[in-house]
C-alpha cells in the first residue's frame, strides 16, 4: 500500500496505572484503506481504539498521524489533527437537534464554510434532512449511527475511526451501516474500525488485524481472513464464529 496515514507502534494503554488493557499493539492504516480490528470479547479492542482517540490513557508506545506524533494529544485536539472518532454508544447529543449535532462539531471549520458543509452532509445522508429539526435522541438506531458518522466526516478528517459501528443495531441496520462505510471509503476517506461482527466488517475491509489480550496477533487481507484457520483459532478461541452474530447484539461495550 501507499502512504501511511495512521501508524500505531507498540501501544500500551489502560485506565489504571499498572493494569494495561492494551499490551503492545501495532497497526498501520494506509491512505484510502478500510482497516478492521477484530478480536474476541475482552481483547481490548475498544480500549485500543479509544486510546488512539485520546480517551484512554496511553502508558507506552506511539501513535503517528500523517507522520506526526499524536500520542500525547488531548482528545479534544484530535479533530484538528485530522482524526475523527465515532464512539460505540451514546455517540450523539440526544437533546440537541440533528442540525445542532452537526454544527457543534464544526468548531475547527471556517464560519463561512459551515452552512455549505452541513448541506453536503445532508446530501450524503438524505435520511437526516427530513429530521434536521428533530432531537437526535428520537432518531432510530441506524439514523443515529448516520448522524454520528456525518458529524465525524464534517471536519474533513484524514482518518475516520469507528468503535463497533454495528453494536446494538438490528441486522437490517447493520448492513445499512456497512454499506454506508463502503460508500464513504469510495469517496476517498480512510477508515479504521473495530468490530465484533467479523463477517460484515471483513466484507467491506481491505486489511484486518486480530487483537488478542491487548496485542495484535495476526494480520492479513480482509477477504482471506474469513477462512484463515489461524484466525479461527485466535479469534474464536472460546466459541464458534457462527454464534457471534446472535450473541453480539446485547453484549454492549465490554470489549
Amino acid at each position: 500500500m501507499s502512504e501511511t496515514v495512521l501508524d500505531v507502534r507498540n501501544l500500551e494503554a489502560g485506565y489504571e496505572p499498572g493494569v494495561p488493557i492494551v499490551r503492545g499493539a501495532s497497526i498501520t492504516v494506509s491512505k484510502g484503506e478500510i482497516v478492521v480490528v477484530l478480536g474476541p470479547n475482552g481483547a481490548g479492542k475498544s480500549s485500543f481504539i479509544k486510546a488512539i482517540a485520546g480517551l484512554v490513557p496511553i502508558t507506552g508506545g506511539t501513535v503517528f498521524l500523517d507522520g506526526k506524533d499524536i500520542t500525547a494529544a488531548p482528545a479534544h485536539t484530535m479533530v484538528r489533527l485530522g482524526l475523527a472518532f465515532v464512539p460505540q454508544t451514546e455517540n450523539i447529543f440526544p437533546l440537541m437537534s440533528v442540525e445542532d449535532n452537526l454544527k457543534v462539531a464544526c468548531g475547527i471549520l471556517e464560519r463561512r464554510e459551515i452552512p455549505a458543509r452541513i448541506e453536503e452532509m445532508y446530501a450524503a445522508f438524505p435520511d437526516l434532512v427530513r429530521q434536521r429539526r428533530t432531537a437526535a435522541g428520537n432518531l432510530s438506531g441506524g439514523q443515529r449511527q448516520m448522524l454520528a458518522v456525518a458529524r465525524a466526516l464534517i471536519v474533513h478528517p484524514k482518518v475516520l475511526v469507528l468503535d463497533e459501528p454495528s453494536a446494538g443495531l438490528s441486522p437490517k441496520f447493520v448492513s445499512m451501516v456497512f454499506e454506508m462505510l463502503a460508500g464513504i471509503r469510495r469517496s476517498g476517506v480512510t477508515i479504521l474500525l473495530v468490530e465484533q461482527n467479523a463477517k460484515a466488517a471483513l466484507a467491506i475491509g481491505d486489511r484486518a488485524y486480530v487483537l488478542v489480550e491487548g496485542k495484535d496477533r495476526h494480520e492479513g487481507i480482509a477477504s482471506e481472513l474469513w477462512n484463515d484457520p489461524v484466525v479461527a483459532e485466535l479469534y474464536l478461541g472460546q466459541r464458534p464464529l457462527k454464534a457471534e452474530k446472535t450473541s453480539h447484539a446485547g453484549n454492549g461495550g465490554a470489549a
Binding site: A53, G54, L55, P74, A75, H76, T77, M78, V79, R80, F85, P87, E90, N91, I92, F93, P94, L95, M96, D100, K103, V104, A105, C106, G107, I108, G137, R151, V155
Partner: protein, 302 residues
Amino acid sequence: MSLQFIVDGLLTGSMIGLGAIGVTLTYSILRFSNFAHGDFMAWGTYATLAVVSAIGATFGKVAPIAPLSFGWPLIVALVIGMAFTALLALLLDKVLFSRLRSQGQAIIVVMASFGASMALRSLLEFIFTSRPTYFSRAIQIAMPVGFGIRITPDQIALLLLTAILVLGVHLLMTRTQTGRSMQALSQNAALARVVGIDVAKVVRVTWIVGGALACVAGVMIGILVQIRPFMGFDMLLPMFAAAILGGIGSIPGAVLGGLIIGLAEAGAVQLIGAEWRAAVSFIILMAVLFVRPIGLFGVRER
C-alpha cells in the same frame, strides 16, 4: 386581595431567576450544586458598592438619571462588579473546585462549596461588617398603573434589565457555537471532547456567565431591599428551588421557576402571612415534582 403582589412577586422572581441561571448551569455542566453561588451575589453587590463609592469620592455627587434613584456611577459599577464576580468565580474554580472535580466525587465538591460559601460570607462581614447598607437612601414614589398596582421607576428598569439578560443568555445558549458547546458538555462530556470541544474553555464561560448574572441579581436586591453579607445566602434555597422547578439545565426553566416562586411567596405573604413565605414555595416545588419529577422544562436523563 390587592394585586400589588404581582409586581413584588415578579421582582423577587427576577432576582431568584437570574441567580438560578447560574445554579442550573453549574449543575448541568459541572455536575455539582454550588452552594457558594449566593455568596457570589453578595460579593458582586459589595464590589459594585465599593466602585460606586470610589466613583463618588472621585467625581463628587452625581445626579441620578431622571426618574431613577441612581445615576451612571451605579451602571458603570455594575459592569465592573459583574467582571469582578466572574473573576471571583473563575478564581474559586481554579484554586478549589477544579482540583476536587478531577477526583471525580461530586459530593466532595458540594461540601467544598459549602465551606467556600461560609468563608466568603465571613470575609464580607469582616471587611464590611454585618450592618445593612444601601445604594441609595432616596425614597422613590411608586406610580399607580391601574388595578391597584403601584410600581417605581427603578422596579420597571430592573424588570426590563432582567428580560434583556435572560433573552441574551438564551440566545447565547441556542444560537452560538459556545452555547452549543455548553449544551453538548452537559449532555455527554466524553463525546463533547471527541467532537473537539475544549472542556476547560466551556467551564470558564459557565463561571463567567453564572458569576456575572449573580452580581446583577445581588445588585437588584441591593437596590430594592438592602445590602447585607447574608443577602446571597438567604437566596440559596429559593434559587435551588427555582432551578429544580424549571428543570435542571434549562435557562427558561430557571427563570420561569424563579418567577413562580417569587409570585407564590409574594401571594403567600398577603394571603396567609409572611412567616409562610418559604414554605409556600417549597410546597409548590414538591407539588410540581410529584406530577413532573424532571421539572417544568427538564429532560429525562437516559
